[in-house]
Symmetry: C2
Subunit: 256 residues, 2 copies
């Protein structure tokens, strides 16, 4: 499994991705799923991947080497895109090219052609944007109403994002929320695991503000996990018990 | 969708189930999914259902009217079972009988024969037990190591159970945890909704301690939702921000 999350707030963009891959429970490896495409001053893009690893790696390679445009007889790389919309389109085109080559036989072999991407960043002349691209190459863009997108094992880590993330929050709070969301996912699904790759981009800087790998045992993340557990336990304890049972038990005592 | 959760602690059993059903997003209804089989002093059983409503209702009806045992020429109801294991077996038999009648044509019509059950309670002479029964009629029993089982839309509400529920907790805390788990699920999946049916059974009483329906606007549950949200927000705020970014920003200021 995989969990990747992108948060786009006024103050900037966070992309985080775990690194665990598995082919069955007995074949677990570590692969980077957060890929960076950066030429400071011109563009800074992060591409987080989920789904079949052979497909996502092929897509990333095509985006680096160039996606063939047969009509024009040209190859297009992400660096050639002039807007984030064009970049998302190019990711879609790359997915469809991989599907054309591998899709049919994969599906005949019972392997589903499933892949998804978070593409976030900024290109000179455009704004900081975040997209989620699906297996068919179609995509949606993140907007301030719900300032985050997730791919992979998204459910365990969604409640905390639903409650905590707003477009007006500061970027370091957005980063904190995404790490808590990752922690919740890692606790409930063994297929998601450390290390975690993190990218932060501030608007209009056209360079990555932070590229960081959270390794196992890293003190801040370890502390965050402990504190979040303790805070949840005390939040739980602070809520009064349901009155339903007390009524019944009291009534029974009275009856006796 | 559906969310049902059973918590079995030393102090007793909680079963809760939402009541929302949907055939597509444009066809939403309210159906009871927590069914009670009770003869005080002899047995008290709760059966929570998820999956295809036509299948789960047929299974419940068979369990009430009697599941045909062709070899013995008899019909068996839940009340005839002498142990909880036999009761879980009977639920499995009922599922297979419904599959025999409806399974093939349902699958030909592209409707998957998917159903699952939580069966919890006590029968005179046996202990308080909790089982999860799958579509094929096979089942697992809940044990103190992980004292809860879930069916339906289980992921959103699992992190809170993973952290909060222990076998030694009191029954009213177990009930509170299951309500918080239901709240997390309802916030993230519109297919799960109020009212919520609740059953509580204390060990060796052989009667339901509580049968209760949480209706929309019910003050305690409304308050629990507000308090849990506020507690999560303050838990979030209490965790220090990641030092990663601060380092970068400080370094930049220093460079300037």
């Amino acid at each position: 499994m995989t969990y990747c999350c992108g948060v786009l707030v006024r103050d900037g963009l966070v992309l985080i991705a775990d690194t665990r891959t598995n082919a069955g429970l007995d074949n677990i490896s570590t692969f980077r799923k957060l890929h960076i495409f950066e030429e400071p001053g011109h563009h800074v893009l992060g591409l987080a991947t989920a789904g079949n690893l052979s497909v996502s790696q092929s897509v990333v390679s095509l985006l680096r080497e160039g996606v063939e445009d047969h009509e024009a007889g040209e190859r297009h790389q992400l660096r050639d895109c002039r807007t984030m919309f064009q970049a998302a389109q190019l990711v879609g085109t790359a997915i469809r090219q991989v599907h054309k080559v591998n899709g049919e036989l994969m599906e005949q072999s019972g392997i589903s052609f499933e892949v998804s991407f978070l593409l976030g960043g900024q290109i000179l002349g455009d704004c900081l944007r975040l997209y989620m691209v699906y297996s068919a190459g179609n995509f949606i863009e993140c907007t301030p109403d719900t300032p985050f997108l997730q791919i992979g094992e998204h459910k365990y880590g969604k409640p905390v994002l639903d409650r905590a993330v707003t477009y007006e929050m500061e970027i370091s709070d957005a980063l904190k929320s995404s790490l808590i969301s990752m922690d919740s996912t890692m606790r409930s699904n063994l297929g998601v695991g450390l290390p975690i790759d993190v990218m932060v981009v501030s608007p209009d800087t056209l360079r990555s503000e932070l590229l960081y790998r959270v390794e196992p045992g890293e003190p801040y993340f370890h502390d965050l996990r402990e504190r979040w557990s303790a805070a949840l336990r005390s939040a739980h304890a602070s809520i009064p018990r349901p009155p339903y049972l007390k009524d019944v038990r009291t009534r029974r005592l009275t009856e006796v």
